[in-house]
Assembly symmetry: D2
Homo-oligomer: 284 residues x 4
């Protein structure tokens, strides 16, 4: 992994942005290794991701954001993030009883596929504690009831903040997250929905898919918003099925897709390749 900085920008579209930004990086001796841009014509919105080598760049990392905003960002009304590949993002994993998705994530982390830190696992059930222990990760159980939900979520938020968590992954976590929680982590909570949204939102999508007689099942990774199962979609994939597939088989095949789609979304998140805007995502 090279030592690079990543700039993620969006702003009202106008002529000359790419030129101005790449000129800025060039002027400060930045060797650009990847640049990608997109214009949302309907919204007249410009999006850009640039990645360049830190070595030789003549602005200290801690000053890049401020200097960029002062010289360029503010002028173009940019919303801007600066990220560094040397800084491993910190992920919190939320699970319930089903363990296929969380085991897949932990396996990818453990085998070194991802540059990520997973300081803690949070669950509303005790079932996943042995897995957390296997992988040496702190496990916190927060039982959720209608009565204690607000209080428990507040404790979770405090714990996440104390651990400097950058983003949350709901790996088949079977509790609805409250708006107040979501607002603390806007576009930082990734959920895997076991359906090709917007078909079959809600619970039991495999049963609905079976009943409707579809020939395809899918899964959707999306950011969590207040509108249930309707947040910005990050990744989707499908598997073909036939009349021979029982609901159990749909579930088995579906779990493979869930793992694949969720891990794709997490990888994009870790690599700072997602820019959400207007309930859609730009994936660089």
């Amino acid at each position: 992994m090279s030592n690079t900085a990543i700039l993620l920008i969006h702003c009202p579209d106008q002529t000359g942005i790419i030129s101005t930004v790449s000129e800025f990086l060039f002027f400060h001796n930045g060797n650009i290794i990847d640049i990608d841009q997109h214009v949302d014509i309907d919204n007249k919105r410009f999006f850009m991701r640039a990645e360049w080598e830190i070595d030789g760049f003549n602005i200290p990392p801690e000053n890049i954001y401020t200097i960029f905003m002062n010289t360029i960002g503010n002028r173009f009304q940019m919303t801007c993030q600066v990220q560094f590949t040397t800084k491993k993002p910190r992920m919190a994993l939320f699970v319930s009883k089903m363990q296929h998705a969380s085991l897949d994530i932990l396996s990818r982390w453990y085998s070194g596929e991802w540059d990520v830190e997973i300081p803690l696992i949070i669950s509303n059930h005790p079932d996943s504690r042995p897995i957390a222990e296997k992988f040496g990760i702190d496990f916190y159980e927060f039982k959720i009831t209608a009565e204690n939900k607000a209080e428990q979520e507040q404790k979770e938020i405090t714990l996440l903040k104390a651990n400097n968590i950058d983003f949350v992954v709901l790996a088949r976590y079977m509790q609805v997250i409250s708006p107040s929680f979501i607002n603390e982590f806007p576009n930082q909570i990734i959920n895997i929905h076991h359906s090709f949204l917007p078909a079959f939102p809600g619970a039991k999508p495999y049963h609905s898919a079976f009943k409707r007689g579809v020939k395809i099942v899918g899964a959707t990774a999306h950011y969590v918003t207040e509108d249930l199962d309707a947040g910005p979609i990050i990744a989707q994939d499908i598997a073909h099925i036939t009349h021979r597939d029982s609901i159990d088989e749909l579930v088995r095949k579906g779990r493979d897709i869930e793992k694949r789609v969720l891990s794709q979304a997490v990888w994009l998140q870790i690599r700072h390749r997602i820019l959400p805007f207007d309930n859609r995502t730009i994936i660089f």
Copy 2:
């Protein structure tokens, strides 16, 4: 193409059906070249497709249905069809203005991919007449208005019956078919819907898909029933898309899937491989 007979059966499930049917074919000197069965456990329903060589079979083709029903079918309360690969099915093609789907079907027919006859094309617009003429197929224009719909459909039915049409393909035909028409051709009208149903039913699904920011577009071939866009699904497929794809690009990619899915459904229909039951399809 070999000279074979095809038996399509469904009936209440019970022990011994496969044995009884294959014994019957064996007894009458039928060389089975393909047999496939399925049990719908929820509905306790048995489904079977058997294909065997006509040569050497000691029941004349025209008597197979009656003899089979008398000796076996009635005893097991079977619904049964007997088809012959030597008898080319007769298809009627319904089109509106868009021609990509109908051109694909005509190309497949013309290049000999399918053992099918296409005696006529019906449209509510004159635009496809030149295509029909290119391929030497009779073209009939039935303009449809709210006032004349019942009358025009009646003429269409008469025309289809006079031409011994076995099944109808709606190749992006933009008129809703009335129940009285559908009832004349139950599970014999195939439609292509330009979406992965049940997501985005109705008109303009590509616009809806774009707005929702999905990462996949799809198409669905299904039998037409009175419940719009909700009939038994025959085939589905998808294409991956990104934020870079404009609505025009979704349409372009979608048309490829429409053609692929529709042609797959037509091929299954021609080969007598579809058994619809309880709003789902068994695809042998």
Copy 3:
């Protein structure tokens, strides 16, 4: 999981086999829940898989094979296996340094996706010992050199036999298995090759794929035979790639496919759905 017996047969093709076999199961009060057959026309070979409920079947499980062979199998020159879903197959896992494939297999086993027992892991490196310990599985290290290979493999065979191993999975095990080893486990050793065979056999297929500029990478699960990378193929899948994908990215995407394809092959093996013949596989 229901309590069923599975019959896997192949024999020279002739009329009446399906009828005779299903008659036998029917006569002995077997409730068939799945039957599937295939005829290899070139080789005039018949293949069949039947699954039926043990409850009510009036032949004791331990006698089924003998009685079936005496009454039917020998007459039709059948090669035949009888398997029971109550008997969990026993798998041995072979690994080297890379752990993504073995972690995926252990995760699927641990989360209860598969009805399989994994009594031991064998490796030519110590690296995977911590993983084996995490999952509570015995770990054996057999360092392999040109000099000790025959001797070490003999020890491995002895260990596998002592543990009643039914099949071996090479999860990116980087040693060639000797013919003498293979002969002890014919069509019982599953390998994952990190390429779409027969393209790019041998080592470093991702480098070869990159250099050739292909737009797809794949993986192949196959039975190990004496002819390296040329045994019967069980499952294959691919991922689309672009010019943007570095070799590292090919490796990352490829590993996902390796895991998916290998797990599909293992699942088919566990469910007794594979019949290899003439260097090809029938997958029921």
Copy 4:
């Protein structure tokens, strides 16, 4: 379709190219609607495609190439093309006996999917003459024998030049093109190979695939080079197959993939999205 200009560049990589090029377009009042770049790190080669609106751009179209090369291109040792979306590319179609691929191309052209002109079809057989006539396209038959090949190809080249042909599509054209022909149209002849190259090069790949027992068949669109079936790959795709698929079925499924992959390559060619280099392609 908007009125745009497209710049395709490659040159030795160095810092500041993107900045310099976008500055140039900005300075001349070009509204960039798409920009994409790629660096081949192994070859230290920079690739770029920029598309901008002609309206308002203050260099006349006919001068853009010269002015760009004089001010920027020569300095960076660029190889450069300038294309205009208002100028429809002119395609020549080469066919033999099989018509599925050429019918698909003609259908896409006829239905307005592509902004392309097809002034002529060339064949070594008379079979496709009726199709050419249906679509009103000039048809030329050049019978090829070992003796007359050089002479006939020379006539074909003359005909193509006289018709200002921009690129040639071999739609299952069953003759090897000679190096002298290829040199007249470098990276301008697109072939569809009915296999997932590099597996199964040469003739009869479906037979080879069947014999090897693969679970996937594919197709490859590539530029024709002197090295048979080894030119730069433009697009590839696959279909899953099973033991049930006869060679005839492989052919049927394969033809669908051939059509899909070839039409994708042609679309990329028409939209000036392909940059071949070092026997690989950059697809923007």
